[in-house]
Every structure is written in structure tokens, then in C-alpha cells.
């Protein structure tokens, strides 16, 4: 049995919620790169990780989403290492730590970045995260199948389980990635790339997540990772807020489990309250 299947042998695992908005609530300036806080404000980053573990997250991520050489500058090796160490300290024996790898932010097909540079950026980040002791690697918020292939291939060289998750936020039914890929196309390509699990994160909100989860599950035999947004950000004057409540979010628990989700948590706008509500929903349904 693979490590991933072993972890899932007890059923669906509840993951964490958003980090960026939580860090901002702890003083991260708008526009500042959250990842740099792993070095400058490790105690505040750990407070976020700890809040999710306390809320009942069985899997927490790391504050390393942007820390690849194509997306940001700085001492990335140190940022990635500190990111894993912080989450591991908060998790203790209570949660697994899946290390986050986000997109390059550049388009391969527009020639903004070459495959070699993208691969090098992903490989360096994956190596740093693995060396620091991550339990698995999560390639997330992807929109380009080709870029995800490069990231998965680079992540797999570490020998850790690799989960890959896409943002489905385009098209009439908001069931395609920005690059136009359907859940079926994503699933087939990621099976081919050797991913251990496939999923959907971010996107346009929890209401749209179940059909996408079902389609990913039907298109391949991999466990499905689901982490929707707390709706889309709404403006109140010039302030930003997400209008999905923790209760509304968690009311989709059963639908998502029945749609085949193996991992379930929240993306942008979700908080530890969302995770507590998911834990309650799981208790109520079992």
C-alpha cells in the first residue's frame, strides 16, 4: 500500500484553510510576499499553522506557495526549509505536512518562461521541501497542464507522494482552467504524469466543487483533493470580504464526500472556523 493510501485508510482527511488571509489578519502588509515571513515572522506563521491543527486539520500545508525561483526572489532554500519546519512544529504528531508548490506565474506557451527554467525552479523547491521533512508535495492552483506536468515530474524525483491540484474558474460552467482544460483532460494528463492524487482548489466557490470532484473521480482512479474558495471576494466600499460562512461551506461536506473527495479543506477566504465546521459535519454524518 502506498503511503498516500495508508493515510487515507481511515477515510476522508480534513486539510486546512487559507493562509494568506490569516497572515494578513496577523499583520502581513497587502502586497508583501507571505513566504518571506517564514524567515522574518516565523512565530506568526506558526500561529496560523497551529490554529489549523487546533481546529482539527489532519493535513496542513506550508507557507511556500510562491517560493520557486520563477515566481519570487530571495533565499528560497531557506524560505522553503523554514516553511516545512514551521508547519512540522505546529503539526507535531497530530497532522501531516504537505508542502505547497504554486505555479511559476508565467506562461510557457507565450514564451514567458522556458521548460528548462520552470523545471529547475520546481526541482529546487521540491528538493528543499523534501529535505526539510515534508510528508508529501502538493502542486497547487495550476491552470496549465504542461506546467503541471513539469512540476509533477520535478516533485516526483524526491520520492514523496505528489498531489496536483488545478483551479477550475473559467468557461460557462466554471469547469475549465484558465487555459481551457476540463477535469477529464486534467485527470488523464496527471495520471500520465505520475501524480498520486489529483484535485481542484481555489476556483469560484464551494457550490461548484462537487461536480468537478465527481468528474475528476470518474476520469481516473486517483484520490481527489478538494479545497474550494469561500466564494468570490466581495467589495464593501474598498474593503474586501468573502461572503461564504463556515456553516454554508461545511453544509457541502456530504455532497463532496459522496462526490469522491479524499482530502477536503478550504482555499482563499476560509479560516480555522471553516475547518471546525467541516469536522462537525463529519461527526454529524458518521
Amino acid at each position: 500500500m502506498s503511503r498516500l493510501h495508508e493515510w487515507l485508510s481511515g477515510g476522508l482527511l480534513i486539510t486546512d484553510g487559507a493562509w494568506g488571509t490569516e497572515l494578513q489578519a496577523r499583520g502581513l502588509a497587502p502586497g508583501a510576499a507571505p513566504d518571506t515571513w517564514n524567515l522574518t515572522h516565523p512565530e506568526r506563521v506558526e500561529a496560523v499553522a497551529h490554529a489549523y491543527v487546533e481546529a482539527g486539520s489532519q493535513v496542513i500545508l506550508t507557507n511556500t506557495f510562491r517560493a520557486n525561483a520563477a515566481a519570487m526572489e530571495g533565499d528560497l532554500e531557506a524560505i522553503n526549509r523554514a516553511g516545512v519546519e514551521i508547519s512540522k512544529r505546529a503539526a507535531g504528531a497530530r497532522a501531516l505536512v504537505f508542502a505547497s508548490i504554486g505555479p511559476t506565474g508565467k506562461m510557457l506557451m507565450a514564451g514567458e518562461i522556458g521548460s528548462d527554467r520552470a523545471t529547475a525552479a520546481f526541482a529546487a523547491q521540491a528538493a528543499a521541501l523534501a529535505a526539510a521533512g515534508a510528508d508529501a508535495l502538493l502542486v497547487e492552483t495550476m491552470s496549465d497542464v504542461e506546467e503541471a506536468r513539469l512540476a509533477v515530474a520535478a516533485a516526483k524525483t524526491t520520492g514523496l507522494p505528489v498531489i496536483v491540484s488545478f483551479a477550475f474558474d473559467s468557461g460557462k460552467n466554471k469547469d475549465r482552467t484558465m487555459m481551457g482544460a476540463t477535469p477529464e483532460a486534467v485527470a488523464a494528463a496527471m495520471v500520465d504524469a505520475g501524480a498520486d492524487a489529483v484535485g481542484a482548489n481555489c476556483g469560484v466557490g464551494v457550490e461548484r466543487a462537487a461536480p468537478i470532484c465527481r468528474r475528476l473521480r470518474a476520469a481516473c482512479n486517483l484520490p481527489v483533493w478538494i479545497k474550494p474558495n469561500a466564494g468570490l471576494p466581495k467589495m464593501e466600499g474598498t474593503a474586501i470580504r468573502y461572503d461564504t460562512s463556515a456553516e454554508f461551506f461545511a453544509s457541502h461536506y456530504t455532497a463532496l464526500r459522496e462526490a469522491g473527495a479524499s482530502f477536503l479543506g478550504g482555499c482563499c477566504g476560509s479560516t480555522p472556523d471553516f475547518i471546525r465546521a467541516l469536522v462537525r459535519a463529519r461527526c454529524a454524518s458518521s
Binding site: P30, L232, M235
Partner: protein, 211 residues
């Protein structure tokens, strides 16, 4: 006489080679450079925009079309400049301060160029001062601000306020766009317009310069 409908088709289909070849042939046959732009490139990119709006096209198709349009524009542009032809309008575009994302901004820049605008692309993480400097030195009519993150879209307001403080707010039209941006936000910060997509941005820029 070359078949210029093939230019339209090549741009819509994203075929750069054919677009360049037909453009060369048309110029050699004495077709007015401006007629190539207004008669073929602009309508072709409008069609691309329409297909994007209808979700027949996604970003990859749009990028290929923009590339084909650019292949033709590169041949035509020097001729237009030599003839002293003025563009539809001059747009200064950039992703606002604090935000390094430029995929959306690059798409809008391509579509604007395909729509006949001269585009001055300042890149990503652009300070209000650089926007103001570009507008004054290049005599631009429109400023297009992009942001991908909810945490950086507030820089749009800072930029608009800076134009106000510099006494230049009335001199330019400011349009905003990007994933988290809404009409409501555009209104709240005093922008002149909001574009829901790259294609909508072209229609908006045309409206703004027509006023």
C-alpha cells in the same frame, strides 16, 4: 492581389506564418498599411474576442491569435509610423505596485494592440509615479491598471489618487481589470471603466477614447 480574407482567417486561427506572408504580399501589391489594420487585423481580433466571450476560445487560442496579429503588425507598424498615422489611442498599461502577475495584463495588452491601440507596457509591480511619468512623457489617453490579488488591488486606488494629486486625473481615462476586480470596486475607487475580460477591455478602451 493577395486574398486578404486569408489574413483575417490566419489571425483568427492563430497562424503567424500565413499572417506575415499575406501581409507582405498585400504591402507589395500596394494595399494601404492602415487598411490592413482597420480592415483585417482589428476585425479579426474582434472575432477572437467574441469567441473568447462565447468560451469557444480559451487563453491558449487567444495567445496564438495575438501572436499572428503581432506578426502582421510588425510588418505594418513601421510603415504606419513613416506615414505619420496616429493610432486609435495610446494606452499605458501595467500591473499595479506590489503585484508581480502579468499574464492577464499581457493578454489585455495584446488585445489592445490588435484593436489598433499603441500600447506602452510598463510591466508588473508598477509604482504610481511610473504610471504618471509614462502618461506625461508619452502623451497617453488611457491608463490600464491590472491586479490579480485582492491584497494588491488596493494599489489601484493609490494609483488613481496619485493621478488626482498630480493634477492629471482629468487628462486621462483610467480603466481597471483583473481576477478580483469588479464594477463595484471600479466605481468605488473612481475608475472610468472596468473590463471583465481582455476582449471587454478593448471595447471599453474604444468607448473611453471616443468620449
Amino acid at each position: 492581389m493577395p486574398d486578404l480574407d486569408k489574413l483575417h482567417e490566419a489571425v483568427v486561427e492563430g497562424d503567424s506564418k500565413t499572417a506575415a506572408a499575406v501581409t507582405h504580399a498585400a504591402i507589395a501589391a500596394g494595399v494601404e498599411p492602415l487598411a490592413i489594420v482597420t480592415g483585417y487585423l482589428v476585425p479579426a481580433m474582434d472575432e477572437v474576442g467574441r469567441r473568447f466571450e462565447c468560451e469557444e476560445y480559451f487563453v491558449p487560442e487567444m495567445l496564438l491569435s495575438a501572436r499572428a496579429m503581432k506578426a502582421s503588425m510588425e510588418i505594418v507598424r513601421p510603415l504606419l509610423a513613416a506615414a505619420g498615422t496616429e493610432p486609435v489611442g495610446r494606452v499605458v498599461i501595467g500591473t499595479v505596485q506590489g503585484d508581480l502577475h502579468d499574464i492577464g495584463k499581457n493578454l489585455v495588452a495584446s488585445m489592445l494592440e490588435g484593436g489598433g491601440f499603441e500600447v506602452i507596457d510598463l510591466g508588473a509591480n508598477v509604482t504610481p509615479e511610473r504610471f504618471i511619468d509614462a502618461v506625461t512623457t508619452r502623451n497617453a489617453h488611457v491608463v490600464a491598471l491590472s491586479a490579480l490579488l485582492t491584497v494588491t488591488m488596493t494599489s489601484m486606488k493609490t494609483t488613481i489618487d496619485a493621478f488626482q494629486a498630480a493634477g492629471l486625473r482629468e487628462k486621462v481615462k483610467i480603466m481597471v481589470g483583473g481576477a478580483p476586480v469588479t464594477q463595484q470596486y471600479a466605481d468605488a475607487i473612481g475608475a472610468d471603466g472596468f473590463g471583465e475580460s481582455a476582449a471587454a477591455a478593448v471595447a471599453l478602451a474604444r468607448r473611453l477614447v471616443a468620449v
